[in-house]
Amino acid sequence: MKLTRTLGLAAVAALAAGTASAQITDNVVKIGVLNDQSSLYADLSGQGSVVAARLAVEDFGAEKKGIKVEFISADHQNKPDVGSNIARQWIDVDKVDVIVDVPNSGVALAVNQVVREKNKVYLNSGAASSDLTGKACSPNTVHWTYDTWMLANGTGKAIVKTGGDTWFFLTSDYAFGHALERDTEAVVVKNGGKVVGKVRHPLNTADFSSFLLQAQSSKAKIIGLANAGGDTINSIKQAAEFGIVQGGQNLAGLLVFLTDVHALGLQTAQGLIFTETFYWDQNENTRAFAKRFAPQYKNMMPTMVHAGVYSAVLHYLKAVEALKSDADGAKVVAKMKEMPTDDPLFGKGTIRADGRKIHPAYLFEVKKPSESKGPWDYYKLRATIPANEAFRPLEESECPLVKKG
């Protein structure tokens, strides 16, 4: 059964009698971009991730090196069953060698399992769960861009240190929200802060007013939003309506993306603090990337998820080139861990034994409308969290791969 349409060949021109490509399975490195193309995460990943992967192939110079790369992409609809199905069929039927992106932790965990079973490669950029390099870590998976531990740690620590020492949590009432709340609370308490209250709201709540009222009357300095996507956007929007920020309380988004800020508009989102690992307007390189990216993707600036896809694919191709083979997924990932990473977007970095890619993280604050110089000029940098502090230390990891080593 053929599942999805092939999006097209990015770099063809394989040299028929090539030497290097001889060991590459069926002479093609086939990249499957699996993400949400229609729903909550469609803007922050979606077709943009395909664009990012293409740019990586271009920059790698696959064509010149005689490596033929093909793409395929599909929409997992944020359903783990759909996602694992597609992954299985891609590998069994369409001969996909590497699956990238996969936002939504539930789907990511499912794909993680399938890829491991079939010994291919999974480069995760979109999903948050730190379980992917913890309990569920796999020799076939690299977790690139960010994770829940990093979000909780970065945002929690930095805010407490800058005076936000009393917290009230607005938590999405399911596993992901609970984990985010738990991790952040631990960080807050460890750094001398205090959690004065919390309320759990159902997933996909339309009306947050009564929860916000509770948050307001708690008098906490910081209202931590341990939720995601539409819930985060709605709670921020309604917080503005109830004058929460004007009342002296600050919102801390634990999972906020550039596209969320864009959807909210600066008027509503101003003052929001959160952690990301990439912002398009960081330096010359990131701006250059954004400039190439935007025209191919609805004139939107790349999110950190897009950047992660780019950087991960680039590094993957380098490893395949070095190995001269893409056949054995675990071997390719081992090679990726062995080679230091270096790319224009995240700079120099490494991949740890547990599959965690290590790079700095940044605490951003959303600008006031008066500070913004134009469209997409949204963030100002509040703090940089150095690479060695940004992610969960290896000794705390529950990953079996680490214990063995």
Binding site: V82, Q89, G106, Q113
Partner: protein
């Protein structure tokens, strides 16, 4: 054309019994040969949904009750059997049984509530109850929220069938499907089934004939729930996953669509419908939300233009042909 034809799920001018035996033979032969040229995982998915649609059809097609919440049975059984297999370490046959039993139990409760109202209210009540189950599944700790229950072990059935082998699993799934299908066929063609049809045609009349219609409706509801549960539990073992998809209202809508497209109240309609919808979803997966648009459009077109569904239309065609040859209509009409 009788007024009954205007009733939902009314018999779409039926096939004869011989037609059905032939069709059953063809179907079985197809599923035996199919894995050679069709991806077996896909076939197993189709089989699970076909069973689900057949179970749903038992209610709509033969009792005339439109449930808009059947996902709750599919999903609940999936969760329970996944949990049983993964956490309690049950072998697959017991895991599936446990899940199915859970759905049966839920069917008793939901059915007892829902059959207190008819028609549109029945549909809305089942929908609302299913939504409640959905929220429960979203928040309950053991279901894993959005992640679902993953990495469910397939295990070894009856101690000797190793289900990690794809083809062994396929035969098991096919056996389960055929068991469910034949059971439904038996139910429909039993005296009990005749009473159900009588209720569908005219509930008052059935009551006046001395049937406790509520009892019959509840039993049919529970049977339908149980078989939906069987489908859900099997699906969870096949995909090693139980997730929110299976309890969401869109799933309830999908099973309605499958049955409607294939033909409500026909024996094979739900299977054909399930095959079509699953194939379509697979081929169109890359088109994102257009799938939603297309599904909706199919709904609209089917309701407006061919309410009897594909199999219903074929059956009607065969029937009219056999009639024109002046073959006497069979006594046993198999709606």
């Amino acid at each position: 054309m009788t007024t009954a034809a205007y009733q939902i799920g009314a018999p779409a001018k039926t096939t004869t019994l011989t037609h059905q035996y032939v069709a059953f033979g063809i179907m079985t032969a197809f599923f035996v040969v199919a894995p050679i040229f069709i991806y077996p995982v896909f076939l197993m998915q189709a089989l699970c949904f076909a069973l689900f649609a057949c179970a749903f059809n038992l209610l709509i097609g033969y009792v005339g009750l439109l449930s808009f919440g059947h996902a709750m049975f599919l999903g609940t059984a999936g969760y329970i059997s996944a949990h049983a297999a993964k956490v309690w370490g049950f072998p697959p046959e017991f895991a599936i049984l446990t899940g199915t039993a859970a759905s049966a139990l839920l069917g008793v409760v939901a059915g007892a509530l829902a059959i207190r109202r008819q028609g549109i209210y029945f549909a809305m009540i089942t929908l609302a109850l299913a939504q409640m189950i959905y929220f429960f599944a979203l928040q309950a700790p053991f279901t894993g929220g959005e992640d679902g229950i993953q990495a469910v072990p397939r295990g070894t059935m009856f101690g000797f069938l190793d289900l990690s082998d794809q083809m062994t699993l396929y035969w098991v799934v096919l056996a389960i499907f055929l068991f469910g299908f034949l059971l439904i066929y038996r139910i429909v063609h039993s005296p009990f089934g005749q009473v159900l049809k009588a209720i569908r045609e005219n509930e008052q009349r059935a009551t006046s004939l001395g049937y406790k219609t509520d009892h019959y409706k509840l039993i049919a509801f529970v049977l339908s729930a149980t078989l939906s549960g069987l489908a859900g539990a099997t699906k969870a073992i096949v995909f090693q996953l139980a997730s929110l998809t299976d309890v969401h209202w869109t799933m309830s809508g999908e099973v309605v669509l499958m049955t409607l497209v294939g033909g409500m109240g026909t024996v094979f309609g739900p299977i054909v419908g399930a095959a079509i919808i699953i194939t379509m979803q697979n081929y169109l997966a890359g088109f994102g939300e257009w799938v939603l648009v297309i599904q909706g459009a199919i709904f609209v077109v089917t309701v407006l233009l061919f309410r009897r569904g594909i199999v219903g239309e074929i059956a009607a065609y065969l029937h009219s042909k056999s009639k024109s040859k002046s073959v006497p209509a069979e006594a046993e009409q198999a709606a």
